[in-house]
Each structure stands twice: as structure tokens, then as C-alpha cells.
Amino acid sequence: MARRLPLRTRFQRDVSELEGYFDNFSRRHPHLTCCMLRYQPEIGPGLEMPLVRYLSLPLVPVQLGFDPRLQLVHADDATGALEAATRNPVRGPVNVAPSGAISLSHILRLARRPSVPLPHPLFGPTLERLGRRLGAGPLYGDGVRLLRFGRGVDNRRLETEIHYQSRFDAVAAVRDFAARSMGRRVLTSFHPGDVLDMVAGARR
């Protein structure tokens, strides 16, 4: 399907150039099977990735009025998909993403991280400054845009052509991440959900 939106950022132009090289190369060498895996951001407790570090911040800044829809690939599925693709290569690009999608607010609730909404022009600079102090580092290229608009991709090729069934869907990947990552928390014991639970007398 043809591109509908203009490429705006450096990162988008770079990626599109890469895909252009890939296209040309695979067209000129039809005897080679060229398979391109397009990964959605990966998530896992031990990973040194800007987005994982962002989600591990004790207080997570978010962009006021935006709630991106994300698909985060569980680390096991990321390697699993790569392995499946080497065993069962297909031609052309394949999106590596879990089924379903999850919004950032939902992620933060599952991971029990308090969030701070900031007006979106302030988000990037704040994250950079906060990141340097707390060890999260600035987000790569288009991370800030990703955390404003989100992204959902079609992962049917991964399932039907490479025959890789993801072990974790979008929600399960985040649940697993939340359960296994300790991270730093400023308000360890407090969560509004707990207080309401107590009020409702619900026991989990």
C-alpha cells in the first residue's frame, strides 16, 4: 500500500531509505530470499532500551491529552520471531508485533507507575533532563512521537507466513514485564487502586 503521509522526521527518512535499499537489493538479486523484520519496541526487565528505561522511571512523564496505543514485543518473542524467520524465511518485510494493542495509560496502570502529564511541547526536554538524572536517557529518534501518537501494525504475516505464534499478546507482555521488573519506585506502597480496594473490601 502506498505511503499516505509525508516523512517528517530524520528517523522516518532514514528508515525509508533503508527500506528503499532493501527493496532494490532484493529486486536485483531474486535468487536471494530477502526477509526484513520490522520490530515494534521490545520490552523486558533486563533490557537496556530507552523505552524500557522510560517505563522504569519512578515517576513516568506522559503527554497531556495523548494516550498512545502501543504494541511492545516481549523479549522472548523477539528472539523467537528471529529464529522462526531464519528457519522459515519469506520475501519482503514482516512486522514483528504482538497481537492486540495496549495504551500507555493501561501499561502504567498494570506496571503500577504513577504518571505525570506534561504539555507535549515540554515532554521531550523534560524527559531528557529527568532521564539524565535518573538514568533513563533521552528516547531514540522518534520515541517522543511514538509516545504521542502510538502505532499499531498488522502482524498477520508473522503468524500466517513465518508461522510464528507469539507467546505473549500485547497485554501479557506488559504484565510479564511488570511482574518481573522491580525498578525504582518513589511511592512503593501507594496506589489509588489499593485504597479503593480496601474501601470496597475486595480481597485479591
Partner: protein
């Protein structure tokens, strides 16, 4: 003397709210007693809840579940709980504000895929999708949520983007529409797009060009029936008198309308005028007979597109006459 009947009228409405208010007061009193007896706040709170009425406990439980993230969103970001929570507001618009009359809702299939195609209007905020949705939810014997195609630009706006997505809006492009239909969803499309919402008030109810008939191609490819929908009343909610082209270009909007109230009254100008609405669902057009080869037949696609367009235009005129005065 004159104050008495009014008090009697207000009685039942207050009565409905009174139990929960009393229950909260009761809860706070019991909690204070508990703390005075030397209990720590959490134990006191837990004891005080034991006597709360069931409905209130359920409500609290629901909110706490929400805050813990125990809810479901589908891959498009549609959140049924959220949609149900905001539904009463749209119900108010539907019943009281616009007094919508819906006809032939049974033409919407109660299960399986279908593409609803409607005229598009309402310069500042096109409410037509929400009212069609309301008509299906309220009047259809088997109500179901429909997804609607939304101009990309809406997803750039803070708050609007989140809201639209959670109630079932999907960025308008053929890929998304095909995938939704393959998932057997009910999909609403507005082929006029921004040309329909951005037309001046003097051209109301005159259908604009239906794109390049892409919606027919989508329907043929997925074998979904097309249900034309004519919406009358949406044109009067924000009468567009002018266009602030410069501002629109600066913020990247398709157009910035000037209405009698917007932007002169600021946020108040966003309140839509209470016009009277009629929504008619026409006979579904079954395209499953054409088969996949028809996708390449531009001429056929264009003919079907024109047929849908003419149906909607005819129904618009019919319903304009049936409606009579626009506001009363």
C-alpha cells in the same frame, strides 16, 4: 404558595440520589467512630465499608479495577467500558438536544460485516457518527457498537484523539477499513470526508464528490453489504459562514470554520445548535455477487458509488421535507 409545587416536583429526583449521599455520610461517620475507638485508618475504613449498600460497593469496585488496569481494550484502542461510561452524554444529545428520529434501523445487519456509508456534516465537530451509533444502540433490536473512520487530523489533537479512539474511531484509510470488515465489524465511512464537513452553510445537504469510490472497492473486496445512511440535521449544528484559511494552514487543519458563535464566544461557541435530526438507514446493497474480479473494474465501482450517492441524496431531500422546520 408558588414555591410548593416546585418543591414537590424536585422531590423524586432528589430521592433517587439521597440513599448514596446518606450512605457516604454514614460511612464517614462510622469511620470516624472507628478511629476515635483507636483503630488505624485502614482497619476503620474496612469495617465501615461492611455496611455500604451493594450498588455503591460495586461502583467503587469498578473504579478500583479500572485503576489497577483490569480492563480490556481491543487492538484498535476501542474501550467498551469507556464507551458505556460516556454513552449517557450522547443519549442526552440524541434524545433531548437533537430529538433524533431514526428510521429503518433494521436495515443494519445484526451480525457480520457491513459498511455504513453516510453524508458528513458539522463543521467544528462532526457528531453524525455518534448519532448514527446512538440510533443503532438505542433503536436496533440487537444493538452493537460500530467503528467509524476518522480523518487523521483528529488524532493530532490532544484529548480529542484519545476520546475518539476509545469510543471506536479508527484512522481513515483503506487498510484499516478492510481489516475491520474482515473482523466482521460494523464500519461507518463518510466518503465526502473533510469536503463534506467543510462546505459552507449555503450548500447544506448537497452531497460532495464521493472520493474516488474507494469505499465500494473495500466493500467488494471484503464482500460486505453497503448500507447507505442519510442524516438530516447535522448541517445546522454549526452553520459554517466563513473559513479562516490562514489559521488552518498554520495549524495544519483541513479548515477552520467560522460560525455565528465560533470563535466569537470562545468555548461557548463549541456548543452545537439544537437542530432537529432525522436518520434514515436505506436498504443494504449486497455486493457479494460481484466477486473479487470486480475490484479492478473502475467503471463498475464508480457506478455503484454513484448509485449510493444518489440514494443518500434522494433520502436527504425526502427527510428534509418530513422534518419541516430545522429547529422546532
Amino acid at each position: 404558595m408558588s414555591a410548593q409545587p416546585r418543591a414537590a416536583e424536585a422531590g423524586p429526583a432528589e430521592g433517587a440520589d439521597a440513599p448514596s449521599v446518606a450512605a457516604i455520610a454514614d460511612f464517614l461517620r462510622r469511620m470516624r467512630n472507628g478511629i476515635e475507638d483507636g483503630l488505624d485508618p485502614t482497619t476503620a475504613a474496612r469495617r465501615a465499608t461492611d455496611e455500604l449498600p451493594r450498588a455503591l460497593r460495586d461502583a467503587v469496585d469498578r473504579i478500583s479495577r479500572r485503576l489497577r488496569g483490569e480492563y480490556h481494550e481491543d487492538e484498535w484502542g476501542f474501550d467498551e467500558e469507556f464507551a458505556e461510561a460516556v454513552y449517557p452524554f450522547f443519549e442526552f444529545l440524541y434524545e433531548v438536544w437533537w430529538r433524533v428520529e431514526a428510521e429503518e434501523v433494521r436495515n443494519v445487519p445484526s451480525h457480520g460485516r457491513a459498511l455504513l456509508v453516510a453524508n458528513h456534516a458539522g463543521a467544528l465537530f462532526p457528531f453524525d457518527a455518534s448519532m448514527i451509533l446512538g440510533a443503532i444502540m438505542k433503536e436496533h433490536p440487537l444493538p452493537r457498537w460500530a467503528r467509524f473512520m476518522v480523518l487523521d487530523w483528529a488524532f493530532v489533537l490532544p484529548f480529542v484523539s484519545v476520546f475518539v479512539r476509545r469510543v471506536g474511531g479508527v484512522s481513515a484509510n483503506p487498510h484499516n477499513a478492510i481489516r475491520l470488515l474482515e473482523q466482521d465489524e460494523l464500519v461507518m465511512a463518510f466518503p465526502e470526508g473533510a469536503k463534506g464537513t467543510g462546505k459552507p452553510f449555503s450548500e447544506r445537504y448537497r452531497l460532495q464528490r464521493f472520493g474516488r469510490g474507494g469505499f465500494v472497492e473495500i466493500a467488494v473486496r471484503t464482500g460486505a453489504p453497503i448500507v447507505p445512511v442519510a442524516v438530516v440535521g447535522s448541517e445546522e449544528i454549526y452553520p459554517k459562514l466563513g473559513d479562516a484559511t490562514q489559521i488552518a494552514r498554520a495549524i495544519g487543519a483541513p479548515f477552520v470554520p467560522i460560525t455565528p458563535t465560533f470563535p466569537w464566544l470562545g468555548a461557548l461557541g463549541l456548543i452545537p445548535l439544537p437542530s432537529k435530526w432525522r436518520i434514515e438507514f436505506c436498504e443494504p446493497i449486497d455486493l457479494s455477487g460481484y466477486g473479487p474480479d470486480a475490484v479492478g473494474d473502475r467503471r463498475l465501482l464508480f457506478e455503484i458509488s454513484e448509485q449510493v450517492r444518489e440514494t443518500i441524496q434522494r433520502k436527504l431531500y425526502e427527510n428534509l421535507i418530513k422534518r419541516g422546520s430545522a429547529f422546532l
